[in-house]
Symmetry: C3
Subunit: 413 residues, 3 copies
């Protein structure tokens, strides 16, 4: 996954931009991607797709021509989607347009003005003291033009049209953990899922944040009823424990499955309510009028967030692998879970059906035979049983599958 | 409100009596009152309207003609609805018919025998020691006759027939806090509501306790389906914190609204279950076969309850004003509340619709924009949202009204 | 009840055996019993009825003919349903077929091999040290043959076909507390119920454990829909507090009634979840595809369980009487409970209907008149009311019956 990150991280992936398009092109060589294109100006529910934006040159000079800031030094120096400007301003005026992060004085913050029109520069807080003159020349040569918002869509067909959607956002110029790490994990998961025979259909989406999901769903409303669960992936490379953000519903089976996997597979993790851990496209997928249960898996928070310090230095392949495996474990459970419905009456004659489990073979399963037998009433899935009895999903699954083989249960649809 | 109390308090307002009728007549000059008249003997569900009662003269004398008790000294000296009597009794016999309040030895208690037939006197506990003779003459010149139970009804029409009913009881001879204070507050509220354009219809009822509500409702059963909520008002002048008695249902929106208002507007208050704080006509309105959610607002308990010490001295206009304002705040919320139902999909493009709220203008509203946006699904009212987010009802109302103006929501009926 | 136990306890009541049949015959002289007969080999849901089993002679000898164990000394010395054997085995081989209870070294444990085929002996743990030779002769002259599983059924017809079933198991050779005590209590209850006019039908069943219930129900499936509640009785003679094992549903009215009776009638008792206190035929009656709520009443645990120490010495008539009375109290409540539905409106004019209760006659009832009056809405039974108000069932019943006499309530069916 580090390769993808190394290749793409320094690109200026603004919402609608050449660098964003190039990045999507790059990924389409790793996994099959259908690209959904929605032109600038398209009405998307209550929103409108913005224009494409680019900036060629930008700087701040004092009246002697000494440059105090130059876009060439770092792509975050100009506010994303800033208006062009070319004038002399007072120091007082300039300060209203200079963004810094006092908590991280050596880093350039990431700022954007996608929908409010305005201009601005971002600079290290430490450098503010160099602005000692009364007047400055500010220059931004940015360009707005009709463009095309692009959503990358890797759909892996399963036995059913019911779909689990995984989302990561590909925009955010020159940053890594937010959210190229989510993108890298998503790409790896896509590769893995393509190799398998899946029950559900999986749709893995790469979007510019928020507007990408709005644009895609509003132009493809027929997809919504097929979506069963959603998972948003971001900030997966930094050194922090995993954070599970619950769905808006907060108590769906997806929430319980994610909690179950994290409890069993991780030494430690934290859990928070919808929109209390991170804020991304779950507000679209799990929001008004759509409302697909969507969790977020991240390692939020991290101190380099939305600054020029969000570089490959703060992430590790080891963390990405752990997050990928965790997500795949969750998808395994989602994909294999089913609801058994008893066809027998009375307690089963276990030894007669070869369903006796010796405690020397599996002590926990032996102790729970009766409890499993009592939960085949069609109101609990295999996962529900494993969760209630605090057992390994796969142990319960393989035992219940024996009942299926002996026609003692049906799969309840 | 003190004027009404001063003018009416000393009147002998027995259940059905001239003084009760005069008091109702007095109030009908302050607010428009329809008088419902139900004659003695009318069968009202399992009850029967009692007769009118009056007492002209009553006393206890020793055999030397020395008066130990005389009705002329205080109207509470005779048990309300006492049978007439004129005979010589032993001290032992007399003591069975003398009522005192040992906890308040200097006060005459209030006693009544509306439905059990009997006779009796009420006297200061301190005076019992004066009864040293063996025999006494007891004389009560009381009269029972066919009369008319009267219920005063001030109905203020709103946009809808759905009705909020407020009740206070006008009977109880020569007492103030129980319940002329409830009457005074109710009259003031009636005046205030008449000036407003209301969504709901308001019905303010003045009754003789319990039998008045039974008589009115049993003779006007068609009113019952229109009643949405009820509020009983009494004991509002004394110096005690407010007590909220919940409805029989205990968890209606009315209960939650009353708790919300008390929490926000009062320094302190207490809350109790149905029939555990006070006992009045809520047992009729919120009782079997009627079951309109009715809270009681009072300042219960107070030590002068049901004695001759319940005089204007123990109440204050300041307390009445506070209780009236509190009740009006509650009615404001009831009247203005509605359930918004989203017409949009996805998160709203806030700045595009002028729905952004700067944190410098309203910090709490700014922080809750998203939470409000997520609660417009038609299953929560404006009050529900304010209550859940611990916000001012009016702040939420005016913000949600903006969505209504922009047709982003409908009012769910 | 001691008489029955004295007469039957030493019999070798194996699952299907002559002694079992003789015991059933004995009981059929005490109470009317219909005997359900199900032949060996009958398919019963997922089970098959086993064969009849008997053992004539059995011993272990050393090579010098010295007997180290002889069936003549105690009927538990041979594993129930052991295969016949007659051979010389090494000490090592023998030890695999010798069962002891190290926690109770002076007692012979009870072991059985109903469905796994095998042979074995049971012996006092203390005697193991006598096996010092290298080889032994083992001899078991047991016989398997076609037989008939028998279920004793004492059905006492009530006003309705809805049936409460009580079950105890009659098998287990030469043991007392498990479960001749349950049998004795059940027989006594049958006698008592036959004397009464009952609302429900009562069915008292004597079975060989588990397979008896499976055989009976699988061959009489039409009975199942009529069963309302079940009670399993066992281990009622030893000196321990009562244990209430809840139904599989855990929160039925039967669970609440049993808890209510135990709380009120016993100084102390304990409560446990389904299958967490004892394990018997509730797994059939309350199990998959049958699911009649069945509690178990026992005095579990006791140290002599499943050993030769489970003799008449460890039980007392006093304990049996207490358990019987407790069960009869529970049946009283089940039988007399009904759901009242108000026909009146408003609070009732109590004194007018003779429904006033003076506090000097019944203080608790006086205090709860209003609370009872508020609970006649057809959603609570007399038991529910008594339970909620923490009152004696019979006090509430007789008071509510007065409402019925005065046609103020109907019985809700």
């Amino acid at each position: 996954m580090n390769k993808l990150i190394d290749d793409l991280w320094s690109k200026e992936r603004h919402l609608i931009s050449d660098a964003y398009d190039e990045s999507l092109e790059y990924i389409s060589k790793l996994i099959p991607l259908k690209i959904h294109e929605i032109p600038s100006g398209t009405k998307c529910w209550t929103w409108v797709v913005p224009e494409k934006w680019a900036v060629k040159e930008a700087y701040i000079e004092d009246m002697n021509g000494k440059r105090l800031l130059d876009l060439k030094d770092h792509p975050l120096h100009v506010v994303s989607y800033s208006l062009p400007i070319n004038k002399v301003v007072t120091k007082e005026e300039l300060m209203k347009h200079l963004y810094t992060n006092p908590k991280r004085p050596g880093a350039i913050p990431f700022e954007f003005k996608f929908y409010e029109k305005g201009w601005g520069f971002c600079i290290q807080h430490d450098k503010l003291k160099k602005f000692t003159e009364k007047k400055y020349k500010v220059f931004i040569d940015s360009k707005f033009e009709k463009g095309t918002l692009k959503v990358g869509d890797c759909t892996i067909k399963g036995e059913t049209d019911e779909t689990v959607v995984l989302v990561a956002h590909l925009d955010h110029p020159a940053m890594v953990n937010d959210d190229l790490t989510g993108v890298a994990v998503l790409v790896d998961i896509a590769k893995e899922l393509s190799k398998r025979k899946n029950h559900y259909t999986y749709k893995l989406l790469l979007v510019p944040e928020t507007i990408g999901s709005i644009a895609y769903l509003s132009q493809n409303e027929d997809v919504i009823p097929k979506l069963k669960y959603g998972i948003f992936l971001e900030m997966l490379g930094n050194n922090n424990i995993h954070a599970l953000q619950l769905t808006r519903q907060s108590d769906t089976k997806l929430d319980r499955m994610a909690r179950y996997v994290m409890k069993r597979k991780l030494e430690n993790f934290r859990e928070g309510a919808f929109r209390k851990v991170v804020g991304n496209d779950e507000m679209v997928f799990n929001g008004p009028g759509v409302n697909i249960p969507m969790i977020s898996i991240s390692r939020s928070p991290y101190p380099e967030y939305h600054t020029s310090d969000d570089t490959p230095d703060i992430i590790s392949e080891k963390n990405l692998v752990e997050s990928r495996n965790l997500t795949l474990e969750l998808l395994d459970i989602i994909d294999n879970d089913y609801t058994p419905m008893r066809t027998f009456k009375g307690p089963i004659f276990l030894s007669g059906y070869g369903l006796w489990v010796d405690w020397r073979i599996n002590k926990q399963l032996n102790a729970n035979i009766e409890q499993i037998m009592l939960r085949l009433e069609g109101d609990k899935s295999v996962f529900d049983i494993a969760d209630e009895l605090d057992m390994e999903f796969n142990d319960v699954l393989s035992y219940v599958n024996k009942f299926l083989d002996k026609k003692l249960i049906d799969v309840k649809s």
